[in-house]
Structure formats: structure tokens, C-alpha cells
Amino acid sequence: MKQVEDALRKEVAKLFEEKEVDIFVGHEAASLPLKTSACFVRSSEEVDRLVWNRSCAANLAAYLPQLFKRPPGLKGAWTPPKVGVVVKGCDSRSIVGLIKEKQIPRDRLFVIGIGCEGMIDRHKVARALGTAGLAEAKIDETAVQAIGTDGTEKQIDIAEALAASCQECQHRHAVLADLALNEASASPAEVSRYANVAEFEDKSPDERFEHLVTELSRCIRCYACREACPNCYCEECFAEETTPKWLGVTTDLPDVVFFHLGRAFHQAGRCVDCGACVAACPQGIDLRLLNQKINKDVEELFGAEASLSLEEAGVLCSFRMEDDQSFMTEP
């Protein structure tokens, strides 16, 4: 991974020297173990800030649309910057989605794709450690060694410590890249996909409802899931519209369920299962389940996965006569 990180820094420095980009979006170390932070590099001298490791879970596509927005209050002509970005497979799919939805311009973007071996779920490691704070984490090829603020130590198998989305990931390489690094090392996960959804589908309606209530009643309406999601770029979210007002501001179940189901449906045919919402949630809610259920339905009904290519229109943006229409019912 160190080699990939070095290569990344070298390539980004070259991009600045050749004036290919004005700004490069990558990950940098954050102060806590197993955390990174998006960073915005503006010259070749700054490339050593960039890191590539098992904690680069954030989907950097979410940070891109803001860079292409005209600065508020600016008068006169404005040219959007040339932006470079480093992506995992999932991030690259989000970028494809954002380009197709006209939120970012392909011609102002330079994408470096890195074959991804999966990112660590920090919450899982903290949970395995118990009640102490996470003081330090050492990672090697096979395990995460977590050290608590009280000195306790715990070893977690790396495969177990990976985010659920990474454990089931089928698209580890960028589907859109101007330059690809670490191409050989990553292969798709050998697991049954949608295992969590199948388990959910097997439940009775009452059990399914109970599961959703258990999960969603934890929500504190902080909107971290929405803000970390590249697909949630709406200027005004339905959750906050006032004319009409779709839902209230409380943490009562109807408001919370309306928000999360609404958000999940707005992801239909668009969610790439990057896991950013799960990683962002301070309450550890299994937000992935709803999105994966819809992803599974989309795949079964329309044979499509979201944002695998620029050419293919999103399932809800296209119509084919042979599309499954069994879900339509008489009024």
C-alpha cells in the first residue's frame, strides 16, 4: 500500500507540474486512528499530505460538486477549476453518476483510480475493543491490532474488520479513470451478495417492521448520512422543504421513518453501495440494508447496477418495452 501511496503522490505532483489540475482531492491522515480526512491539494509541494491506506473509506465524490459551483457573490466571468481526484471502485461509480446527472463536468476532471482491497469499518474495531477509547491501531496484511486508551489490546482479522460494503464489493477497480494504479492486486469479493437483504426478506412483515423500528429509532436527524452521500446533492432536501412540509422536525418514528425511506427511494437505481452513509452515522444505524434492498430489486427487475458506465442511462431515466412491469397494480 505504501508503494501505491508513493505512486499516487508522484502522479499528482506530475499533474500539477503539467498543469493538468488546479486542485487535487485526496485523503490525508486525521488525528484519530483509522480515520482520514478529505484533503484539497493545490500544488506539487503539498502532495506528501496525500495518503492511501485502509482508512480511506470516505467517498470523495461527495466533495466534488462544491468545487464546480460558482463562488457566491462573484461577479464577471468564472471558469470552473480543473479538479483531480483519487477514487476507489465505488467512488468512481459515484463520479459516473454525478457526471450523468450533470453535477460535475467530465472535461474538468482528472480521475486516478486505485484498485481497492477494502476499507476498515472503524466502528467495528471500536466495538471489538469494548468500552475503552481507540488509542492506536496497527494494521498489517492479515489483522488489525487495536489498542485501547486503558491499555487493552485486541486483534481483529482484517476480513472481519472491513466495512460490510467492502466485504461484498464486486467493483474494486475504477469504472472511470484517466489513470489506474494498483490494477492487479484487487479481485472481487467471493461472497454471496445481498445476504443481508435475503435475511431481511425472509422475515415476516411484523419482524421487518420491528427491525426497521429498532434501527431507525436510533436516528438523531443529524443528516450525516445525507451529507456524506455523493448522490445527495439537492440544493433543498425534501426533508427540509416547507412548502409543502413533508415531514416534521422531531425524532418521533413517523418523521424519522419518512426521512430514511424517502432518502432510500431517492437512491433507487443510483446507490453504488459505497458505505459512506454507514461510516458517517454516529449512531451505527444499518442504513445499508434499505439501499441494498432497493439495489437488489433494481437488479432483479431491470438487470442493472447503478453507474457502471457513462453511456448507459440510469434505470429510472430510461424505458424499455421489455422492462418488468409486474409491480404496477390497478388503482
Binding site: Y63, G248, V249, G284
Partner: protein, 340 residues
């Protein structure tokens, strides 16, 4: 001041006894560590570990509450739900945060009729920290792992037993109520407490805090906010997890001619926070919003309440999905002040 000890084996009995006359809120196990919850079975109470993932602010200042109900003919003030409560196991940073919230909700002689009744009915039994959490910095912002502000009783974990120290009259009454279960603390117990506090303080990181208010004012247009604004996702995790953030929104919810006025937590990180009815928004960028959060805590609150509104609990750091660290921002502001 009353110093008594309680064998840990008698803790459940102690909580049960005091819980007979009041609601008990205490840390219980949660998938995110521990979390404050109303407890009817004291065996669920967890003292081990570091501070809870979210603060106990909600006990006094709920995430949302109804202020009024109304229909076409009348407006009725909603009575806040107030119960005699014991908040057990709040950390000293959280207890100190209550003391800061008190200043906001009694500011300028205006007493908040929803917050204060709850505050008056809530006894705070705090628990001193032996082991700091991963982002704790209470001693840098005027706190201590054994701080006394805002609590009625301060508890020390001495391994096999707890030492409970009353800090207020209410605290003393509480301890006397359970006196059948406790013993008078010995000199050795008190020495053990002193040693534990000294050790905990040693383990805490020191963070440079910007003290020069004029320099902080001068940082308003500093470049540092730009990158922080780009990094900040604009969610409400930091403010909602924060024990001192107290901004709220007021919304009317109406249906078929009747409705209610709801107060709910809000945060300066949201773009809607300052959006005017006219469509104008004085804080158009996330830079301005992130700056507001930092300067409100470390500049405006000092101007208004003579104290920074940060107790160093570290929850904004551990929970930030963007990996932002308030400590690093404070240190940058300090070095900015030095170079200015």
C-alpha cells in the same frame, strides 16, 4: 461535604433504593459504546469505559419538545415533562456543560420555562474519569477528570468500591437517603482518590487554546476556514453530540386548523440555519458555517458568558464523519495569533 464509600457489589442496591423515588438515567451498553438511557434494571448500568457516544444534554434539553399547542381559537402553553430524576454516571465534562447551559437558559434574566424545571428536578451524580477517551482534552479547557462544576455528587471508581462525595445540599441529602448502604470514607480512600485523579490528569493531552479574543476576532477572514469549509460535510453530528451546543429552531406544525409549536435542536453547520424568509442567507458557504461553530464557542460565548463553551469531551472529534479535529483547529488559531 460528605465523603462515603460504597462497595461495588452494593451499587445495584444503591441505585434501586434511590430509584424508588425518582427516574434513573445512567449509561447502558450500546452498539456505539455506552449511551444514557432511562434504567429500570440497575444491573444494566455500565460504569466502565470512557464517556458515552452522545452527551446527556438531552435529559435537560430534549432534541425536540412541544412549546405550545393551538387551534383557530386559542393557544395553550405546553407543560414540559418534568420528573424527579437522578442522572447517574455523567462525566465531569458533561456535568460542567450543564453549568454552562444554565447560563444560556437564564441569560439576561430570562428563565427558560422548559429547561429550568427539568434542571431543578435533576440530581447529577457524576463519575470521575480514570481513563480518558481517545479525544478527551478537558484539562485544556478549564475542566478536570474529577471536575465538580454542575454536579451534586461526584463519584470516584476505586476498583472494588466507589467513593461518593457530595458537592451540594441536594447531593448530601441523596447520599443520606442511601446511608444504610455506605460507609464513611477513610483517609486511605481519600488518598486513593487523589492518586487516581493525578494519574488521570497526567494521561490527558494538553491542547493549546486561543485565549486572545482580539486575535480570534482577527481570524474572521483567515485562510484556514476555506479548507475546513471544504472538508466539513455540513451535517449536525458535532453539534448534536456536543454537551454545550444549544441552538434550536422553532417550527409550527399544523394540520386541519390545529397545530403545535415545536422547538428542536439546530446547528450552524446546516445551510438552512441562517436562511432568511427572503431567500437571503448571510452564511453562504460552509467556511462561514464552520467558522461560526468555532468562534461561537471560543469567542462569542466568552464575550457573552465569560467562558468558552467547550468542555473538552471530544465527541465532535470522535464522531466527525469528515475527520475534522477541533483540537487541531484551536492549535492553528493559536499559531495564527502568534504570527499576526
Amino acid at each position: 461535604m460528605l465523603d462515603v464509600t460504597l462497595e461495588k457489589s452494593k451499587l445495584q442496591e444503591f441505585l434501586k433504593l434511590l430509584g424508588q423515588k425518582r427516574r434513573l438515567i445512567a449509561p447502558v451498553a450500546d452498539r456505539m459504546g455506552t449511551i444514557f438511557s432511562e434504567v429500570s434494571d440497575p444491573s444494566l448500568v455500565r460504569l466502565e469505559g470512557v464517556n458515552t457516544n452522545l452527551s446527556p444534554k438531552e435529559v435537560l434539553f430534549p432534541q425536540w419538545e412541544v412549546l405550545y399547542t393551538f387551534n383557530a381559537d386559542q393557544v395553550n402553553k405546553a407543560e414540559p415533562t418534568v420528573q424527579e430524576t437522578m442522572l447517574f454516571g455523567a462525566r465531569p465534562c458533561d456535568a460542567r456543560a450543564f453549568e454552562l447551559l444554565d447560563r444560556v437558559f437564564t441569560w439576561d434574566g430570562i428563565n427558560d420555562p422548559y429547561y429550568l424545571p427539568r434542571r431543578e428536578k435533576t440530581s447529577v451524580v457524576s463519575l470521575a474519569c480514570n481513563v480518558p477517551g481517545e479525544a478527551c482534552f478537558c484539562t485544556s479547557v478549564g475542566g478536570s477528570p474529577a471536575g465538580e462544576f454542575g454536579a451534586d455528587v461526584l463519584t470516584f471508581d476505586l476498583g472494588k468500591k466507589l467513593l461518593l462525595r457530595s458537592l451540594t445540599e441536594r447531593g448530601e441529602k441523596l447520599l443520606k437517603e442511601a446511608s444504610t448502604l455506605t460507609e464513611e470514607a477513610t483517609e486511605a480512600d481519600k488518598q486513593a482518590v487523589k492518586q487516581a485523579v493525578a494519574e488521570a490528569e497526567k494521561r490527558l493531552e494538553q491542547v493549546a487554546i486561543p485565549e486572545d479574543l482580539e486575535a480570534l476576532k482577527g481570524s474572521f477572514d483567515a485562510e484556514i476556514w476555506e479548507e475546513l469549509g471544504l472538508k466539513c460535510l455540513g451535517c449536525g453530528v458535532c453539534a448534536y453530540a456536543c454537551p454545550t451546543c444549544h441552538c434550536f429552531d422553532i417550527t409550527d406544525e399544523t394540520r386541519k386548523g390545529a397545530g403545535r409549536r415545536v422547538r428542536s435542536w439546530d446547528t450552524c453547520a446546516f445551510s438552512l440555519f441562517t436562511l432568511h424568509g427572503s431567500g437571503h442567507n448571510p452564511r453562504t458557504t460552509q467556511d462561514a458555517r464552520y467558522r461560526q461553530r468555532v468562534l461561537h464557542k471560543f469567542l462569542y460565548c466568552r464575550e457573552n458568558f465569560d467562558e468558552a463553551f467547550c468542555v473538552g469531551c471530544g465527541r465532535c472529534i470522535t464522531n466527525c464523519p469528515a475527520g475534522l479535529d477541533l483540537r487541531a483547529v484551536l492549535e492553528r488559531l493559536v499559531s495564527l495569533a502568534k504570527t499576526a
